[in-house]
């Protein structure tokens, strides 16, 4: 469990990145912090592994204040997936994945051997192990970033705009694979994104942030979509837009779902998801 307890971050010069933020991220759940740039979401994420220290308030992991932990050890115990993969350009794929175990003292040979298994796990051909990041596509780099974050088998994963730098088709693939991976691994995942669709696609709980990391609304994707708390949230999730206003049209006994512009988005199966959340 990650707990933000009234954290505030004020930079010298008076810029307030986080005005006062409290949140509990339950173990084994996926929580998304969604907001535009300047909402302080990345600052919040970095407070968890002490890359940013709050001016006041505390961040606790399983009731332990992170300030009482050695920052380097703390960071090694938490998986961090960076924007665009954030790989080390001078290290091969296998060495990138092996980064944290090697830093923690594991032999490079063993860590590289484990890395091959992790590559398969994130859907990459182990034959890519000896390539350098610049030789991979954006989607492949992103997968390596996920494999690296999983290498030390952390309980917590932090993800900063994990799939922001890839095209929409690859993004959807990666999101689906992360969901499958999470169903298997059950990590505690906190991720930040400006893409509300990504948040809805991945998170159990979504926290919509205004400037200064003020919580505009939190809830399951369904709750937020069903009842946006105010105009800000409604605009942010696109409530009322053609894309979000779906209707059913009957055609030869089949029920087709169309959007506000009458564009078909799918077919409604009778009660297939009855009872699902």
């Amino acid at each position: 469990m990650i707990e933000f307890d009234a954290v505030r971050k004020e930079y010298p010069g008076g810029t307030v990145a986080v005005a006062g933020f409290s949140l509990r991220v339950p173990s084994h759940s996926v929580v998304a912090l969604v907001g535009s740039s300047g909402s302080g979401k990345t600052t919040l994420l970095r407070m968890v592994n002490r890359m940013v220290e709050p001016t006041s308030g505390a961040v606790r992991i399983d009731d332990v204040d992170v300030r009482s932990l050695d920052p380097v050890g703390l960071r090694r115990s938490i998986g961090y997936v960076l924007q665009a993969g954030g790989l080390l350009p001078h290290r091969t794929v296998a060495d990138n994945v092996a980064t944290v175990p090697v830093l923690a003292g594991r032999s490079r040979r063993e860590a590289r051997a484990d890395a091959l298994g992790l590559l398969e796990r994130v859907g990459l051909d182990p034959a890519l192990a000896d390539r350098y990041p610049a030789q991979l596509s954006g989607g492949q780099q992103q997968r390596v970033g996920v494999a690296r974050a999983l290498a030390a088998d952390p309980d917590i994963l932090l993800m900063d705009e994990p799939f922001g730098a890839v095209d929409p088709i690859v993004r959807e693939q990666l999101q689906a694979e992360l969901r499958a991976l999470q169903a298997e691994l059950g990590k505690t995942i906190l991720f930040v994104t400006h893409d509300v669709d990504e948040a809805f696609a991945l998170a159990d709980e979504v926290v919509v942030l205004r400037a200064g990391a003020e919580i505009a609304q939190r809830g399951t994707p369904t709750e937020i979509l069903a009842a946006p708390a105010d105009d800000f949230v409604a605009a942010f999730v696109g409530a009322g837009t053609a894309r979000r206003t779906l209707r059913i049209r009957e055609l030869d006994g089949r029920r087709v779902v169309v959007d506000g512009d009458d564009r078909p988005t799918g077919v409604l199966e009778a009660d297939a998801r009855e009872g699902a959340p």
Binding site: V72, G73, R75, R76, Y80, H90, V100, R148
Partner: protein, 213 residues
């Protein structure tokens, strides 16, 4: 050519002297400049004094420097230590700035990635920043290599033996072959050491080859 064949053993000896005077200051200035350059790149407070201070060293003319150093350090005027100290100072004058630029060229997101994955400052320096600063550092080092090899010859004026002795001697005694041999060999030494730097850089930075390929 007859002059050269008759004086081959002297030329070989001077070539060896030249290398012994060139290589230590190159290595010393690298070892001194890398931490200073890192400090200059990472600290706003230290940047200006370090870069201006070391840069000014280059403004000191070499002959007076060869005389000031023995006065300060107590080294003998004609000792290799005097030449090596002077050339190390010149090397640092070029290389501190080069190293600062090299460390500044390390992308910020890579630095953050190193931090986020739990590199200590020490690990981040050795495993991430220094290798990624390598290409820019190497190009500064190559300038220092060539300039040091050429500056060693000035030592001949105060009587420290090097390939420069072939010019001073050749001028005094009017032996053109001696002057020419000195010039050609100095250039050869510079080119060979520079080539060694390039090869070492390729071996140490294998990722560079794949990126440009």
């Amino acid at each position: 050519m007859t002059w050269l064949s008759q004086n081959l053993h002297i030329v070989w000896g001077l070539l060896a002297d030249h290398l012994l005077l060139s290589v230590p200051p190159i290595l010393l200035s690298l070892v001194i400049s890398v931490p200073l350059g890192r400090l200059a790149a990472g600290s706003r407070r230290w940047r200006t004094p370090l870069l201006t201070g070391t840069g000014l060293l280059y403004a000191i003319p070499s002959l007076p420097l060869f005389i000031i150093i023995p006065a300060i350090t107590g080294f003998a005027l004609r000792s290799p230590a005097t030449i090596i100290t002077a050339l190390t100072l010149y090397g640092c004058a070029l290389l501190v700035r080069g190293a600062a630029d090299a460390f500044a060229s390390v992308p910020e997101d890579v630095r953050l990635a190193a931090e986020a994955t739990g590199h200590s400052r020490w690990a981040s320096f050795w495993r991430v920043e220094l290798p990624l600063a390598g290409p820019v550092l190497l190009s500064s080092l190559r300038v220092v290599v060539v300039s040091t090899v050429s500056l060693v010859t000035v030592g001949a004026v105060i009587g420290t033996a090097s390939l420069g002795t072939l010019f001073t001697d050749g001028f005094q005694r009017g032996i053109e072959a001696s002057i020419l041999t000195g010039i050609v060999l100095t250039v050869v030494v510079a080119v060979v050491l520079d080539a060694l730097c390039v090869l070492a850089g390729r071996a140490a930075m294998p990722w560079r080859r794949t990126v440009s390929a």
